[in-house]
């Protein structure tokens, strides 16, 4: 690439300068100090990249403005570049206006171009001025090229990665560093917890075995305790029944010699209670009998007659009871007849009073007359019908007569009306009217002559008025005719009714007469006067008929009363006769019949018989009761003897009717029986006492058996029987009861048993305590097993390990990535060094050789690329650049730059700003030869203030273009002109110095 035209509008000292047709090869700009050479170099330096802000750039008057035309030789395309202010350069293809990035033209970055192509004296050093230490690597890459640019950042990156990694986990990534430690700690804790949790399984197995042992132990303890408790239960039962056992033993001893055991063979002791009951009953009967007999005797006139009377009463018992049974009936009958008698008298009196009420003149004698009236010949119904008929006929007749009277009145009234209407007979109308007309006309004519108007008026008025009169008159006559016709019709109807009523009246009159005749006949039969109205006849008939019936009824009642009184009198007489037998016997008299009662309905008579009957009936009952008691006592005695197993000893005591009733006999028999019963009962009591003791013993044995047979004791014996040789109690074959007695026999006194029992209780308490402890241990072991079976701790441990490992993974991964990145950097750089070092600086070596005249043949970058070692022409080596002279060092770095410039495509303009001042003439000449060769491929700008340099360039024959720069103004010049100009300036400066 070559700059063809350059216009500097505003850049420091350079203002509005245009450099046209710049030489494609060498362009020499000569100028004094501060003429603007360095400013011009900066214009060229920043043309393709833009002017950076800051730094020590020459200021613009208003704004930087640079404009250039450049030619890309490879493509032949001409570009236009414009810089305005500090903005990006605007690059476009000339003539087309298509913008392209300026970097495309230059191909290298700004740093490389600045440090490689714009060569000032300051830059020809190992660490050029203006290049920071940070940029040194980049500079090295730029200088060395051959790919070193690619790895220019690698060391810095490696350092960054290493730092990042070190900050995380130190240089080695040890697990003890801070970043890893918490995760490692967590994992360790988790692992420890896991070991512990897993150890739970072994613990569980141990505890399981321990639990098994404890359970066996508990089983054994349970058995021992049960056995001890069984023994306790047995001993406790024996202890609580110790007195019973004692008593049973004593009873057994006493019963062995008991004579009562033989008694049941002699007497029937089993009937003791029945004998006692029967004897009690016997005594009771005897006592009652004695009371009854005394009561009988006390009611007699003579007590000694008691036995006889008793016999008599027993004989007449049935008769007397029959009377007594009928007594209430007789009482009833007597009461009835007495009331009937009173009633008949009352009825008779009432009847008489009614007769007197009907006819005050009648006396009691008229009763027979009434009784004789043949009223049955008169039918009440007919009489009643006839009376009714008579009254109805008479009422109908009266009514008919009344109707006839009304008809007569009406006939009279109609006839009067007919006459009245007949007087209003019709007059001929026209005739009347003619007459009225003529009169009116004449009257009018008459007046007309006197007063025509009045006459005319009067005539017309008369004619019209008579006409109206005749008209209305005619209307009234017509109505009268109609009314007359109606009245005649009505009159005919009434007359016809009147005739019919007349016939009816005649019939009723006949009927009334017939009925009246019948009633008169009745009056005669009843003895009544004829003046009595028909209703009175009927009422009288009814009253007399009623009285007659009363008389007949009274007659019947009296007859019946009499008959019944007779019957009652007979019955009472019979009773009276029997009672008199008893009375007589009681008094010791002969038997006499009593007289028949005259008026049986007299109260005294009745009361006498009634009281007598009651008295003897009561005595009869006493006698019967006494007899019954006597019999029952005998029966009981017989039964008692039978129950006692004895027979009647004394024959005279045997029951006979003769002996039974005597008090002495009875009492003798009772005394005998009492002795026998006493003897019997004594024997029985002796036996009963024996039995009681047997029962007492059996009862005690039974209670003991129950106690021995209780579930608890049975179980206890059963348990102890199964315990083998180590029996707590001496167990033998036999019933549990026998076992009880055997145990009892071992303890002659209760105290020894109680001591044994107390000892057992203590043992039980001890065993229970041991068992309880064993149970607690089992429970605790089970709880422990339950805890050990939980997996919570294991889960937590795993979780902790997992969390720790995840955390460790994260940090370790990040650390590993950083370290790996750093490692990659190192490896890449190492590889680069191993493979590329030999290819570096080959061109620079040739240039350096030419610049040094063959003294230096080869320069080799060291490992860190910060310096070079050298191979000299004689084959010797120099290890670094620090030992070189300044001129040689500048030659080295010029050679390095030019070598790189030759390698880089496209060929960019090279600016050399008085960089060759430290070269001696020979080396300057060699350098210019190198630059001359470079100008064949590159446009080279040389800025100088040295006239000898210009002279040497002219002498070298290198084609070029010379520009004179004076105080910021460019002007073309010939070589010698420029040399002279610079020579003059140099001398002037020297003279001033």
């Amino acid at each position: 690439m070559r700059i063809k035209r350059l216009h500097i509008g505003d850049f420091g000292i350079l203002q509005n300068q245009t450099l046209e047709d710049l030489h494609p090869g060498l362009v020499i700009v000569g100028g004094c100090n501060r003429a603007g050479k360095s400013t011009f170099m900066q214009v060229l330096r920043y043309l393709g990249y833009g002017i950076p802000s800051g730094g020590l750039l020459p200021p613009a008057n208003t704004a930087y403005m640079i404009d250039a035309d450049v030619l890309e030789e490879n493509t032949g395309i001409q570009y236009h570049i414009r810089l305005q202010g500090q903005s990006e350069p605007i690059c476009s293809i000339a003539g087309q206006g298509n913008r392209v990035p300026a970097s495309e033209l230059y191909g290298v970055d700004s740093f490389t171009y600045r440090n490689l192509y714009t060569i000032s004296l300051d830059q020809l050093a190992r660490e050029p001025e203006g290049v920071s230490s940070k940029e040194m690597d980049k500079l090295q890459s730029a200088l060395l090229g051959a790919g070193l640019t690619d790895i220019a950042n690698i060391p810095r990156l490696e350092e960054g990665f290493t730092k990042a990694a070190n900050s995380m986990g130190g240089t080695k990534g040890r697990l003890t560093t801070k970043a890893f430690k918490p995760h490692i700690q967590m994992i360790k804790e988790g692992v420890a917890a896991k070991k512990k949790a897993i150890a739970q399984v072994e613990q569980y197995q141990l505890q399981q075995a321990h639990l098994s042992e404890l359970q066996n132990q508990k089983q054994s303890l349970d058995l021992n305790l049960e056995r001890t408790k069984a023994k306790r239960d047995i001993l406790e039962t024996v202890k609580s029944h110790y007195e019973v056992l004692e008593e049973i033993t004593a009873l057994n001893h006493s019963l062995e010699n008991e004579e009562g055991a033989e008694i049941p063979k002699a007497i029937h002791t089993e009937n003791q209670s029945r004998v006692e009951d029967a004897y009690e009953s016997y005594r009771e009967r005897i006592t009652q009998w004695q009371q009854q007999f005394r009561e009988l005797a006390d009611n007699l006139e003579k007590r000694e007659q008691a036995h006889q009377i008793q016999k008599l009463l027993l004989q007449q018992r049935t008769v007397l009871q029959g009377f007594y049974d009928r007594l209430s009936g007789l009482q009833e009958k007597w009461n009835h007849l007495s009331s009937r008698k009173e009633k008949v008298a009352e009825d008779k009196h009432q009847l008489f009073m009614r007769i007197k009420g009907l006819n005050a003149n009648w006396s009691e004698q008229d009763i027979s007359r009434i009784r004789s009236l043949q009223l049955e010949l008169l039918e009440e119904s007919r009489l009643m019908n006839e009376v009714t008929r008579f009254q109805n006929t008479r009422n109908d007749l009266d009514q008919t007569q009344s109707q006839l009277n009304d008809i007569d009145d009406r006939v009279l009234k109609i006839k009067t009306k007919i006459e009245k209407w007949q007087k209003q007979a019709p007059m001929p109308g026209l005739k009347l009217y003619l007459w009225a007309f003529i009169v009116s006309a004449l009257l009018g004519l008459a007046v007309f002559f006197l007063h025509p108007a009045a006459g005319l008026f009067l005539g017309l008025f008369g004619i019209i008025g008579s006409g109206l009169f005749v008209f209305f008159k005619g209307l009234g006559q017509k109505e009268a005719a109609i009314r007359l016709k109606e009245l005649h019709g009505e009159l005919d109807g009434i007359l016809e009714t009147q005739a019919r009523l007349q016939q009816n009246k005649k019939r009723l009159t006949d009927q009334l007469k017939e009925t009246g005749n019948y009633l008169m006949t009745v009056c005669k039969k009843l003895g009544l006067e004829q003046s009595i109205p028909p209703q009175g006849i009927l009422e009288y008939y009814r009253a007399i008929s009623h009285i007659q019936q009363g008389i007949i009824r009274l007659d019947k009642d009296e007859a019946l009363l009499k008959e019944q009184s007779e019957q009652l009198a007979d019955q009472l007489h019979e009773i009276k006769n029997v009672l008199s037998v008893f009375e007589n016997a009681s008094a010791g008299l002969r038997d006499l019949h009593s007289p028949r009662p005259c008026d049986v309905l007299q109260p005294d008579t009745w009361l006498d018989i009634q009281s007598g009957l009651k008295k003897w009936h009561g005595l009869m009952l006493t006698a019967v009761q006494s007899d019954l008691l006597s019999r029952e006592a005998d029966k009981i005695r017989t039964r008692i003897l039978s129950l006692m197993g004895q027979t009647e000893e004394r024959e005279h005591h045997r029951e006979t009717p003769e002996t039974r009733e005597t008090m002495a006999a009875v009492e003798a028999a009772a005394g005998s029986l009492e002795d026998q019963v006493d003897a019997y009962l004594s024997a029985c009591r002796a036996y009963s006492d024996y039995r009681k003791r047997i029962e007492n013993r059996d009862g005690l044995l039974q209670g003991l058996k129950r106690a021995a047979g209780s579930e608890r004791i049975t179980k206890a014996f059963s348990l102890l029987a199964d315990t083998g040789p180590e029996q707590i109690l001496p167990m033998q074959d036999g019933s549990l009861l026998e076992q009880f007695f055997l145990i009892y026999d071992q303890y002659p006194v209760k105290e020894s048993l109680e001591r044994e029992f107390t000892g057992l209780m203590d043992e039980i308490r001890n065993q229970e305590q041991v068992l309880e402890e064993c149970k607690k241990k089992i429970q605790a072991t089970k709880l422990s097993l339950e805890q050990l079976s939980l997996t919570q701790e294991l889960e937590q441990a795993h979780q902790r390990i997992h969390q720790g490992r995840n955390g460790l993974y994260q940090i370790s991964y990040d650390y590993a990535v950083q370290k790996a990145a750093a490692w990659l950097c190192r490896q890449v750089r190492s590889e680069f060094m191993a493979k590329m070092k030999d290819d570096l600086l080959l061109k620079a070596d040739g240039i350096l050789s030419r610049l040094t005249g063959g003294n230096y043949q080869r320069m080799i970058p060291n490992d860190d690329l910060t310096d070079f070692s050298f191979v000299l022409g004689d084959g010797s080596h120099q290890e670094n650049s620090r030992i070189l002279s300044r001129g040689t060092r500048e030659q080295v770095f010029l050679a390095v730059r030019l070598g790189r410039i030759l390698e880089i495509q496209p060929a960019l303009p090279v600016i050399i700003d008085d960089s060759l001042v430290n070269f001696d003439c020979a080396h300057l000449k060699q350098a210019l030869a190198v630059i001359g060769r470079l100008s064949q491929t590159h446009q080279v700008f040389i800025m100088t203030c040295h006239p000898h340099l210009v002279g040497m360039l002219m002498d070298s024959g290198i084609p070029g273009q010379y520009w004179q720069l004076e105080k910021g103004r460019f002007s073309t010049a010939q070589g010698h002109e420029l040399k002279e100009y610079l020579q003059l300036n140099t001398e002037a400066v020297k003279s001033l110095a």
Binding site: F111, K134, E135, K138, G147, T149, D150, I151, N153, I154, L157, G160, F161, K172, G173, R174, L175, I184, I187, G190, V191, K194, I198, Q200, V201, Y204, Q205, Q208, L785, L788, S789, T791, L794, E795, H798, Q799, H802, Q803, G804, R805, N806, L808, Y809, S812, Y813, Y815, A816, V817, Q818, K819, A820, A821, A822, W823, L824, C825, Q827, V828, E831, F832
Partner: protein, 456 residues
């Protein structure tokens, strides 16, 4: 000849806890994760009863060494009692996790349960209801955690008239293996058995399809993100001496799953906020549950072989998910601005949004491994560096010394001398995958540095 079914399972690891983060405030999910291995085994037993299996084979590691608990013992004893009531026999060999010298059953096992001894191989014969033998089962338990001798070579030959099964808990590695050194060829050449019921590898595999069939059942329930397939067991139907079918029956109630989100994918390439990323992740997670139940059985061999079938027997209770947000995109700067904060926020949002649904989706972890979009072009500016970097990365894979050099730099937390069965809790396993991720992230970090520092 008799026709019967049996269940082949192994590596139940009863009582093992599922490793998951952040469930402290979700006791119900915590409970599910705690119960997962129990539920899986319960599902297995229920399936066996439902399918009328004659017996169940448990080829080692019934219990977990790190999760030994009384509860696990009790649970197994109870389960065996139920199986006994259903007439199903249970054959158990102890594995390296529950060797007989370290583990003993605490509860009395019913008569249907047969635990193979450790001191000698044993053969049990299974009878049909008529009393005739239908199958012979040979096996031997681990006595200790390591079993260096080839126990299977001493298995006696059973009666050849019945279906013959050998149970073996092995890593199937020849040479110095701590888990019964054996080779597939050895087992394949054995003519004494028709079916090798293997355990130890937690992924279901059928290594040989016939004469004899050699199969790993995998684990009924995965326990960490290293076991991301659906857990289950084989339900094998036998007719005489021939296998009619093998169905893989899923038993795991909970599934581990790693999901990767590429922020450069079309849905996220224009995203400019975490909200967009959240929505995409939520949608992605929900899509997960809509997939076929056999989605995580990634062995094409299993799916395609006519003998096998996969059936989902277990009710899926939930998924435990670990997210990796990777790729290049606009979201990178937002995510990397506060990477840890973003990880935590996303994790919490996903937990809140998905944790309560059924089946639940619980986010265990969100890892952001995104790269600057400019990274892709960085190396174009540094062609030499690019070549060198690729060369180094390639060398890591080839050069063990270089690899060791790198590993030695990564910190003491990492160890390459790890074993799945003998994991050191305080060290992290630096497996191939992890190392690759670290290197890739380091590379991205380097490129990012270059991109940022290019202009000086």
């Amino acid at each position: 000849m008799s026709r019967f079914r049996f269940v082949h399972a192994a590596d139940v690891h009863l009582g093992s806890l599922l490793h998951v983060e952040g469930l402290e405030s979700h006791p119900e999910l915590q409970e599910l994760c705690r119960e997962a291995t129990y539920l899986a085994f319960d599902n297995l037993c229920s399936m066996a009863v439902r399918e009328g299996a004659s017996f169940i084979l448990l080829s080692g590691d019934l219990y977990d060494r790190d999760a030994r608990s009384v509860r696990a013992n009790r649970f197994f004893a109870d389960a065996c009692k139920k199986l006994n009531e259903a007439g199903i026999q249970v054959f158990v060999t102890a594995g390296n996790h529950d060797p007989l010298r370290e583990h003993q059953e605490m509860f009395l096992l019913p008569d249907n349960t047969h635990l193979f001894p450790a001191d000698r191989p044993e053969i049990y014969y299974v009878k049909n209801p008529e009393g005739g033998n239908i199958a012979a089962i040979a096996g031997q338990s681990y006595g200790s955690r390591q079993e260096n001798s080839p126990l299977h070579l001493n298995y006696p030959s059973p009666d050849s008239q019945v279906f013959r099964i050998a149970m073996l808990h092995t890593q199937l590695e020849k040479g110095r293996s701590n888990y019964i050194p054996a080779s597939l060829a050895e087992l394949a050449e054995s003519s004494s058995f028709d079916y090798w019921a293997l355990g130890h590898i937690h992924k279901p595999q059928i290594l040989r399809w016939e004469n004899p069939v050699i199969a790993y059942s995998g684990s009924p329930q995965g326990r960490d993100f290293g076991e991301q397939q659906l857990g289950g067991c084989w339900l094998v139907e036998v007719d005489g001496r021939h296998i009619r079918s093998m169905e893989y029956r899923v038993t795991s109630p909970i599934v581990y799953q790693s999901l990767s989100i590429d922020i450069g994918c079309p849905q996220l390439q224009d995203a400019d906020s975490l909200d967009d990323l959240e929505d995409y992740m939520l949608s992605h997670a929900r899509d997960l549950l809509r997939q076929d139940p056999d989605r995580i059985i990634q062995d094409d061999q299993l799916e395609e072989h006519p003998l096998t079938n996969i059936a989902d027997n277990a009710e899926l209770k939930g998924c435990l998910i670990r997210w990796e947000i990777a790729g290049r995109g606009r979201l990178h700067h937002i995510l990397q601005n506060d990477r840890q904060g973003s990880e935590q926020v996303l994790c919490q949002i996903l937990r809140d949004m998905l944790g309560a649904q059924q089946p639940f989706i619980w986010t265990d972890l969100v890892q952001i491994r995104t790269a600057n979009p400019v990274n892709a072009d960085v190396l174009k500016q540094y062609p030499v560096l690019g070549q060198l970097l690729e060369g180094v990365l390639h060398s890591i894979e080839e050069d063990d010394h270089l690899r060791e050099s790198l590993v030695s730099e990564l910190g003491q937390a990492w160890t390459t001398a790890f074993h799945h069965e003998e994991q050191e809790e305080e060290r992290l396993p630096l497996d191939e995958e992890t190392l690759k991720k670290i290197i890739e992230d380091a590379k991205q970090l380097l490129l990012e540095g270059l991109a940022e520092g290019g202009e000086g």
